[in-house]
Symmetry: C2
Subunit: 230 residues, 2 copies
Amino acid sequence: PPGRKVLIVYAHQEPKSLNGSLKRVAVEELSKQGCSVTVSDLYAMQFEPRATRNDIVGCLHNSEEFNYGMETWEAYKRGGLSSDLIEEQKKVQEADLLIFQFPLYWFSMPAIMKGWMDRVLVQGFAHEFPNCYDSGLLKNKLALFSFTTGGSREMYAKGGISGDIRYLLWPMQHGIMHFCGVKVLAPHICFAPEYASEEKRKEMLTAWAQRLKTLWKEEPINCSPEWYFK
Amino acid sequence: PPGRKVLIVYAHQEPKSLNGSLKRVAVEELSKQGCSVTVSDLYAMQFEPRATRNDIVGCLHNSEEFNYGMETWEAYKRGGLSSDLIEEQKKVQEADLLIFQFPLYWFSMPAIMKGWMDRVLVQGFAHEFPNCYDSGLLKNKLALFSFTTGGSREMYAKGGISGDIRYLLWPMQHGIMHFCGVKVLAPHICFAPEYASEEKRKEMLTAWAQRLKTLWKEEPINCSPEWYFK
């Protein structure tokens, strides 16, 4: 709907890839709806995934023993985080919906996107004890994980060799997004596009565009073990 | 036992941290046993976590559309991977046991270590269809995930707010290690050391040294959904 803000965090090296096309489809469809869409293209930005002392500008709270979580928390409070983090946090703060678009690497997101989570979702900004899970600081936002897999739908079925695809969503959806208070929409999964025909790949893009048309009417998943493991 | 080779992949910024101490304890105890121990200290090496075109030396197989998995597979076969990857692969190849030592970041390993998985465990080296899972190319090796958490043991219990700690081990142990044929020993978990007394932290170090004494007699876990989710 007009006025809604969307941040797409996108991690693929190749604009011509299916992930690149899925990202473009989302930008087009959501813009058509009147949403304002921002993209963080992590590889293009050469986003830094490593959590280091460079993330804190100026003096450390405890320079005797470097504690990343503590130092970024303190730096956040005094406005002393590095500028690339502040920029990403602003985008998150403004967004109603976060879409993560990536190829599944080793049952999870690529390291460059994991680094975005590690560095951007700082204590004080995204959560602050006891404000986590349903009272996380990013509540009232939605998130959606949209990804492609190498393995087939059959491999990721409940009895399949790689186990139910939902098993691997737990750390990303519950462990990160739900922890920060974000409500999670059902994932969007394109299985094994590398082994699909050109026609099937086109169908995948159409299906995504179609889903986005009614996305804002969707209910979040029940982010409890029942959804993931039963 | 004398002659066994161990690779410790270690991801903490601060040598004085508990993770730093756990790593040192492992080096000491295993060396005392006569093992040959190698450490990949990822932050000290400024290890690159991003999977990019830089990982391939020379021409691409398909320069029209960059496909990281395909390109690194081809590069591996012709000896054209970047030298930092070749070096890590040599260490893996020689090791009987891989120990991953890290603080849990967002229900998973820090991005710098995820990048090690993404970039080092290349198709052709670690797996090659249909050689995955029990026939993965790194079979006859053992792996052990040793990590510290922010949350308490109670939070990570079955009925706890963060769910059973085993849920989040699935992508790392089954999705990565088991996929490559590596057998997985029970994880070693230090819960919430930041909130523990100095005495409790010392006990954590002693317990780890103690476990290492009989490590080679341990049986791997049953790496199936039953172990993780029941």
